[in-house]
């Protein structure tokens, strides 16, 4: 293909760029490579989110350096946009300097030390789930392990009662996966849309207005649920996040308002339930299709010196989050004219495969060093749950492969993927 034809393909890919579509995932990395080579700062015709003043011109960045620059410059690239089901969530949708205050308050709750204390419990729970999963020769790894493991742990940590688990998962799926190819998310959202008397639209996707309305009402329920829990913990504090949040002071001065508490819990709810599950699903899917890489991992995983870097490398390759930012002032970004209210998408999966920063970017190298990947973000919003996430991933992968070193994809059932903050809705595997 000539350079020109290739560029025209890049132009078409940029114009249609929509990472929330499952179809996009089929050529995801090819597209990011194409864009990075020809159109590293690309304007898209698909809305990449809605700015606070309504503008919705979208850009997509695929170079590592550009991505870092955006994430490190919150003055020019705000995290606050407009499409929140209730209010802007805390801290992810708040810009510095307010954001700094929230992070100072939240960081102590998620330190490495605090998370290390959870390890025995994580191990015990992972073993229980894997044992149950392996009672069958063929099983859905997502349903049996990737979903419940981090979610149940998180619910416990947060202080959501165990009996509410399936309700919580339904809420999460309705809000986060109505329109990204997740079958359960769509099913739940459609059911709710029907009871609300909303139009579904005739295509595969739900009408955007409908999806927004459904997410809005569902989120209201979640907020009401949080409200009740906060009430209970005010009366009877326990050793959980809800109680700790009630106890902390913003800037050491004042307790959080009811709204702030709810907005914080809401973000933790979204960040804590899906992320590790998605990363685990994608990592294991990769292992199922490349046994060599799996064996290499199994061979090193008992060496604590090697396990940490290996899991980082897996998170680099299986980054799941496209990060949205909003331009706060008109300026030239290397040459492209970014106008106020333009939306910029920084897909961490694209930055993480930039050959300029990561030689042989598509290749898993367990001892890759340096490995400054953006899988957990960068700058002020860098993942709050990173220490928890790392421990969950390490323990889950160790336990799984100790008990089941060999497995492959179920030839009779296909895995189901979803886009956006991507992941797997199911991953049917077979032992051996």
């Amino acid at each position: 293909m000539s350079k020109n034809e290739e560029r025209n393909r890049a132009v078409a890919a940029a114009r249609d760029y929509d990472p929330s579509k499952v179809e996009f995932l089929e050529h995801e990395f090819e597209t990011y490579d194409l864009l990075r080579e020809h159109l590293p700062i690309a304007r898209s015709e698909v809305s990449q989110g809605v700015g606070v003043q309504g503008g919705n011109v979208g850009w997509v960045l695929t170079r590592y350096d550009d991505s870092c620059e955006v994430l490190r410059t919150p003055e020019d690239f705000s995290s606050q946009s407009m499409d929140y089901p209730v209010r802007a969530w805390i801290p992810q949708a708040i810009d510095p300097p307010m954001h700094t205050g929230y992070r100072r308050m939240l960081n102590p709750l998620f330190t490495a030390d605090a998370m290390t204390k959870l390890e025995p419990h994580l191990l015990e729970y992972a073993e229980k789930l894997v044992d149950e999963m392996l009672e069958e020769d063929a099983f859905d790894f997502v349903a049996k392990f990737a979903d419940p493991f981090p979610s149940a742990i998180f619910c416990e940590l947060a202080g959501f009662p165990a009996e509410d688990y399936s309700q919580i998962m339904d809420w999460k799926n309705t809000i986060m996966h109505a329109n990204d190819g997740h079958p359960r998310g769509r099913e739940l959202a459609c059911a709710r849309a029907k009871t609300m008397g909303l139009e579904l639209g005739d295509g595969d996707a739900l009408l955007p207005e409908t999806a927004t309305a459904v997410a809005g009402t569902t989120a209201q329920e979640v907020y009401a649920y949080f409200g009740e829990l906060l009430e209970q913990r005010r009366a009877n504090p326990r050793d959980d996040l809800i109680s700790k949040l009630l106890d902390t002071k913003y800037q050491g001065e004042r307790p959080l308002s009811q709204e702030e508490l709810e907005d914080t819990l809401f973000l933790l709810f979204m960040a804590g339930l899906d992320t590790v599950a998605s990363a685990l699903g994608l990592i294991v899917q990769g292992f199922a299709t490349s046994p060599d890489k799996r064996r290499e991992f199994v061979a090193l995983m008992e060496d604590p010196q090697k396990l940490g870097p290996a899991v980082e490398e897996l998170v680099r390759v299986h980054a799941i989050v496209p990060l949205p930012r909003r331009v706060t002032r008109e300026h030239s970004f290397h040459g492209a004219l970014f106008r106020q209210e333009d939306m910029v998408t920084v897909p961490t999966m694209a930055a993480n495969r930039d050959a300029e920063e990561f030689p042989n970017p598509h290749e898993i190298q367990y001892d890759r060093s340096p490995n400054r990947h953006l899988g957990y973000g960068l700058g002020p919003h860098r993942c709050l749950g990173i220490h928890l996430a790392r421990r969950e991933l390490r323990i889950a992968l160790q336990v799984l492969h100790r008990k089941l070193p060999d497995y492959h994809l179920d030839p009779d059932q296909k895995a189901v993927a979803f886009g956006g903050m991507k992941g797997l809705a199911s991953l049917p595997l077979v032992k051996g």
Binding site: K3, N4, R7, N8, V11, A12, A14, R15, H38, L39, P40, I41, A42, R43, S44, E45, E330, S332, F333, H334, G335, A336, L337, R339
Partner: protein, 532 residues
């Protein structure tokens, strides 16, 4: 590397920097219609006044694109538009963009000889022109075209209800509108504009621009005034006219276009519409300031005046400043529309005496005779590159000599880049005369003069002129005993079918011309004589 490879390497760089994008002018026009559909476009004209807002323009132009499609126009075909600043011209331009058809704007004064050349060189499949306008009879001109050398020209559309029998009327065209028509995909690197400019060669040169080069020029958010009404009096066949029209979609302010420059009408329109920005040449500005003063028109709403096109007398900039008008100069050409520009906030001295600073992404080198780089404050040939630089002439022979390694374009102008980064044009290396903003090739005029039986040799230079900046002055050596007067020259030029503006207005008979040792006529010497 060939010039083409050099340019392609630069293009790749502009993509990497994000200066080149995924969009076309059609996208911008569609979004303009959505984002500021109410923005009004007023076509001021004695003959054919009209007005439309962007939403209507968009709708109509889509229908028109369908009509042009039904005539067989396809992406990559060319359409010549020789229409003054009228609604029809703007619609045709917009329709062509939707259709991926290359627009070939033709300066309205061009006569059959130039039009013939342009139609042939561009391989235009269609031509749109008025029937008559002011003192020009376009239909009579059409009859003088030699259609046998124009095999591609299939349709001539005349803006009149009663067109000649082998032409379509504008109404015929509108009747072919198809609302079901779906515009094809157009690539941002496709050529969308082919504009002819006079240069050193006798024949006009076909300058090709793509969506990307034009959008790079138009996307200059910071230098271009965004709010408030704009008055545009640049003729539609010029790059400045084309850009003025396209910019409207991006900015969305009210725009008033004039089909014919008339200083007193301009002053009245500025007063009536509270116009904030306008552009023009010294000729326009001078006239405007004079009439406004004489007629007591209130033009105080006007704060921005972008002046270009010819050498600008500093006194004029200062005079405008006294009238409350921040005038600033800019420098560019059809090939590279804006290389440098002042801003209303630059110091008056820089605004009066320089052509502003390089625009973001534009680069300039100043070269000596041997092509070596000169230092700041030294005078030399300006070569430039930038995202809005054109992508080559249609005549490939011109390209090799116009581009240097690295994709630098030889402007043919001489200038200085000062230590503050301001560019000042000091001389034209290109042998052209700029009369009222119109480029006239000396060589072309000389060639026509040489056809006259009385003339042995002619040398043409610009005569300084208060009104037009320059006018055409011809030095002629005549055959022994032969006589030549201006009226006869006028007849001769009319018979050759070229634009009236090119006809010499001064004739100086000489026995010999000053020459270099190589035998080239020393134009500098001739100009110096006139300056005295």
């Amino acid at each position: 590397m060939s010039w083409r490879e050099e340019l392609s390497a630069q293009q790749q760089r502009y993509y990497a920097e994000g200066r080149y994008q995924t969009r076309t002018l059609a996208d911008e026009m569609r979004d303009g219609a959505t984002n500021h559909g109410e923005a009004l476009l007023i076509f001021h004209s004695d003959t054919r006044p009209s007005a439309a807002n962007l939403a209507e323009m968009h709708r109509k132009s889509l229908a028109l694109a369908g009509a042009l499609h039904s005539l067989g126009l396809r992406p990559g075909d060319a359409i010549a538009i020789q229409v003054p600043n009228w609604l029809e011209g703007a619609l045709a331009f917009q329709a062509a963009m939707q259709l991926g058809v290359v627009v070939v704007p033709v300066i309205h004064i061009y006569g059959p000889a130039e039009v013939q050349f342009i139609l042939r060189e561009s391989r235009a499949r269609a031509l749109i022109c008025p029937r008559a306008w002011r003192n020009i009879d376009y239909v009579e001109r059409l009859e003088r075209l030699d259609r046998s050398t124009l095999p591609n020209l299939q349709h001539v559309i005349v803006i009149d209800d009663d067109p000649p029998s082998d032409c379509l009327s504008w109404r015929d065209l509108e009747a072919r509108a198809r609302s079901s028509f779906a515009p094809p995909a157009v690539a941002p690197d496709d050529v969308c504009l082919l504009i002819f400019t006079s240069g050193t060669t006798a024949e006009p040169k076909g300058v090709q621009h793509t969506h990307n080069t034009l959008l790079a020029e138009l996307g200059r958010g910071s230098t271009m005034p965004k709010r408030g009404a704009t008055l545009s009096a640049f003729p539609s066949g010029h790059i400045a006219g084309v850009l003025g029209l396209a910019r409207l979609y991006l900015n969305g302010g009210k725009t008033i276009l004039m089909d014919n420059w008339d200083a007193s009408a301009a002053a009245r329109l500025i007063e009536e519409h509270r116009v904030r920005n306008t552009q023009g040449t010294p000729f326009h500005l001078h006239g405007l300031l004079e009439t406004a003063a004489a007629s007591q028109r209130d033009i105080s709403s006007l704060t921005d005046y972008l002046i270009g096109g010819a050498s600008v007398p500093p006194a004029l900039v200062e005079q405008a400043q006294t009238a409350g008008l921040a005038t600033y100069r800019c420098y560019g050409s059809s090939e590279h529309p804006t290389i440098s520009s002042g801003t209303p906030s630059d110091p008056i001295d820089k605004r009066a005496r320089t052509d502003g600073r390089l625009l973001d992404g534009c680069e300039v080198r100043i070269l000596d005779e041997e092509g070596a780089d000169l230092r700041r404050d030294q005078e030399g040939e300006i070569v430039c590159r930038g995202p809005e630089l054109f992508v080559g002439y249609t005549n490939d022979a011109l390209n090799a000599e116009s581009f240097l390694p690295g994709g630098w374009f030889r402007t043919g102008d001489v200038g200085v880049l000062d230590t503050d980064g301001y560019l000042r044009i000091t001389d034209r290396k290109k042998d052209i005369i700029i009369r009222g903003g119109e480029n006239i090739s000396s060589k072309e005029v000389e060639d026509i003069l040489a056809h006259h039986p009385a003339v042995i040799e002619a040398a043409v230079v610009g005569m300084p002129d208060e009104r037009y900046g320059e006018r055409v002055c011809a030095y002629v050596i005549l055959h022994h005993g032969a006589k030549l007067e201006l009226p006869e020259v006028l007849d001769h030029f009319a018979a050759e079918g070229v634009a009236r503006q090119k006809t010499p207005e001064d004739l100086i008979e000489v026995d010999e011309l000053p020459r270099t040792p190589m035998g080239k006529v020393k134009k500098v010497e001739l100009r110096r004589r006139l300056a005295k």
